[in-house]
């Protein structure tokens, strides 16, 4: 086990997969100089400019070219810089990557990974702060992964690269410096498996990505008042781990879903509705209000799910 950052863990995973499989390559803007967050630093030196491919500012073509390159047997890792810019390449992802295998009757596959860093970070305002994971979970053909720890960023990115389906891989920008133990030269983690971060019998809290830090704090606070919350990191949004979530909710009979994304139309609705359908348990969702993210810190804070909100929401279920 080695202590490393979430950023470093992602880089390591990519480097190891590139060493393992010559079909893997990465493409995106500024990758040759390490990428916008430094998450590719040093890779061009090891793998050369062909496999760590600097691209023009052409998001549509980056994604579209990755589709073509995947159809003929390579495994592209596409860097979108901020998930917000991936909105310039939605046709390529949703109409092409996600559907090609199906439309063509299984003749081709599109084993690409698109890395789309999400979330609020350093007062970036409405065009650099979005969390649109719910969109992709709604699209047949796509896998959606949202790692929250260095170990997960390592193991899940490996799994995403090995996956034969197109994967939307959403790192959280606020997690880049987060440190944690990672097993170097370790294994890929299974996609589609949630992890129970904390056990408890009073209510189940499901969350993913950056907001988990706040959720853990809230769970601590609840514990301080004698409420034992079970906290589940969903890790993969599609396919989501219904078994783990429903088993927990069946025990606690109370389910709170928390996400950084806008609450209305967010993936919390899917999970809450499923639990209500399947178990008839009491459910509640927390997410951002339906606001664009503002720039000024006190305004931006309105979009951030707080520990106090989580504790309060949990209490309404008790």
């Amino acid at each position: 086990m080695t202590l490393m950052s979430y950023l470093e863990a992602g880089k390591r995973a990519l480097a190891e997969e590139m060493r393992r499989d010559p079909a893997v390559w990465a493409l995106g803007e500024d990758l040759g100089r390490g990428g916008v967050f430094g998450q590719y630093k040093g890779l061009a030196e090891e793998f050369g400019p062909q496999r760590i491919c600097d691209t023009p500012i052409s998001e549509a073509c980056i994604m579209g070219a990755a589709v073509g390159a995947a159809l003929v047997g390579t495994r592209p890792v596409v860097e979108m810089r901020f998930s917000d810019f991936a909105l310039c390449a939605i046709d390529e992802l949703v109409n092409q990557a996600a559907k090609a295998r199906y439309m063509f009757g299984g003749q081709g596959r599109v084993p690409l990974v698109v890395r789309e860093p999400v979330g609020m970070w350093r007062s970036s305002a409405a065009q650099h702060s979005q969390s649109l994971e719910a969109w992709y979970a709604h699209i047949p053909g796509l896998v959606v992964v949202t790692p929250s720890t260095p170990a997960d960023n390592y193991g899940l990115l490996k799994a995403a690269i090995r996956c034969d389906d197109p994967v939307v891989y959403m790192e959280h920008k606020d997690l880049w410096p987060l440190e944690g133990e990672v097993e170097a030269d370790g294994e890929a983690l299974p996609l589609g498996k949630a992890r129970i971060l904390r056990q408890g019998g009073d209510l189940t809290i499901v969350a993913w990505s950056g907001v988990l830090r706040t959720v853990r704090q809230a769970a601590e606070a609840l514990a301080g008042t004698g409420v034992a919350a079970e906290v589940i990191d969903l890790r993969t949004l599609y396919p989501w781990d219904r078994e783990t979530v429903l088993a927990s909710a069946a025990r606690t009979r109370r389910l709170l879903v928390v996400h950084e994304a806008v609450a209305i139309g967010g993936f919390g609705g899917e999970i809450a509705a499923t639990a209500a359908e399947e178990l008839g348990v009491r459910v509640k969702r927390l997410g951002a209000p339906r606001l664009p993210v503002a720039y000024a810190p006190p305004l931006e804070a309105q979009c951030r799910v707080s520990e106090a909100q989580i504790v309060a929401a949990a209490r309404t279920l008790l």
Binding site: G64, A65, V67, G73, N95, M103, F104, G105
Partner: protein
């Protein structure tokens, strides 16, 4: 420049290919009109010389990326017409098991990477395929067809720039049939046109009479040779005319009948026939070619018709492995 000295057998082969495309699309048109073919069908009647002229210069291992107006390119690349017709009918034996229909025909066994329902979307995909070929040091080339309407979409610029900067083995073919659906493309295309745009992106462009199959063939031969020799991306603008409506449902009343009649006189099959007659091929031989094409297509239609629909479970397959629907 027409290559009047084209080999007669080669020209005759073009005639046969064009006749097969024509016969296929006439059958498709009939199927659409009768309702047997439900999804949209875009006919390339009048544009067959582009498909035949270009694809005659491709190897089976080369790749092809097409558009919604896909039949000609795919037949010329060597696809099985029964499987294609079955696809239009939605049968499980179709090229795509009936999941795609005309707008999504693909045949990976001959390097045909797909039609596309989204105008211009094939261009980046083709660039990416060529990129992959280059990455793995392959010798294949990619032929990427698109219409004159597609040059007003962003992916045209992004894809051509991409091919240029990475110096990819790709031939872009802009099939200028004068229309984008009901719109005269020229009226909404600024500047001198597609070839000038390609040149401004650093890609050598050549303009050819897209109804003269020997001219398309010659231009393609030259450009394909350049690409195979490492000359990087090339561009051909083939000027032609869409003799039918945008879809097989479209009566195309937005253009004068006289214009169509005039263009009909430059039907590429007729132009080819004239040259072949001049070169001594008997009229009867050509009529026999056409009859053979019709027979072949009629048999394809019959065979496709006889095929069963796909089982419902087919709808659930090939979505994705991870999280496969159940």
């Amino acid at each position: 420049m027409t290559r009047a000295n084209i080999d007669v057998e080669r020209l005759r082969e073009h005639f046969r290919t064009m006749a097969r495309i024509r016969a296929f699309e006439e059958a498709a048109e009939a199927g659409q009109k009768s309702g047997e073919i439900r999804g949209a069908v875009h006919l390339s009647v009048g544009q067959e010389a582009v498909a035949s002229g270009i694809c005659a210069n491709l190897r089976r291992s080369d790749y092809l990326v097409s558009t919604h107006r896909v039949h000609g390119h795919t037949i010329a690349k060597g696809a099985d017409v029964t499987a294609m017709m079955a696809e239009l009918l939605g049968k499980a034996g179709g090229t795509c098991q009936g999941k795609g229909g005309s707008m999504h025909i693909a045949d990976f066994s001959i390097g045909m990477l797909g039609a596309n329902g989204v105008v211009g979307a094939g261009i980046p995909i083709a660039a990416g395929a060529a990129h992959a070929v280059k990455l793995r040091g392959g010798s294949e080339i990619v032929a990427c067809f698109f219409g004159d309407g597609a040059v007003n979409r962003g992916p045209f610029l992004e894809g051509l720039n991409w091919a240029r900067i990475y110096d990819l083995p790709i031939l872009f073919i802009c099939e200028d049939n004068g229309f984008a659906a009901t719109t005269r493309t020229r009226s909404l295309t600024g500047g001198p046109g597609p070839a000038a745009r390609a040149e401004a992106l650093g890609i050598p462009a050549r303009i050819v009479d897209g109804n003269a199959v020997e001219e398309v063939d010659a231009a393609a031969a030259e450009r394909v040779t350049r690409i195979r020799e490492g000359g990087g991306p090339q561009f051909i603008l083939a000027q032609t005319y869409r003799l039918k409506g945008h879809t097989a449902h479209d009566p195309a009343t937005y253009r004068p009948a006289a214009e169509v009649e005039e263009k009909q006189r430059r039907d590429p099959i007729e132009l080819c026939r004239e040259t072949l007659l001049l070169r001594g091929v008997p009229a009867a031989a050509l009529a026999a070619d056409e009859a053979a094409a019709r027979v072949e297509i009629a048999a394809a239609v019959a065979a496709a018709r006889a095929q069963p629909w796909g089982d419902e479970s087919l709808a659930w397959r090939d979505v994705q492995d991870m999280g496969a629907p159940a």
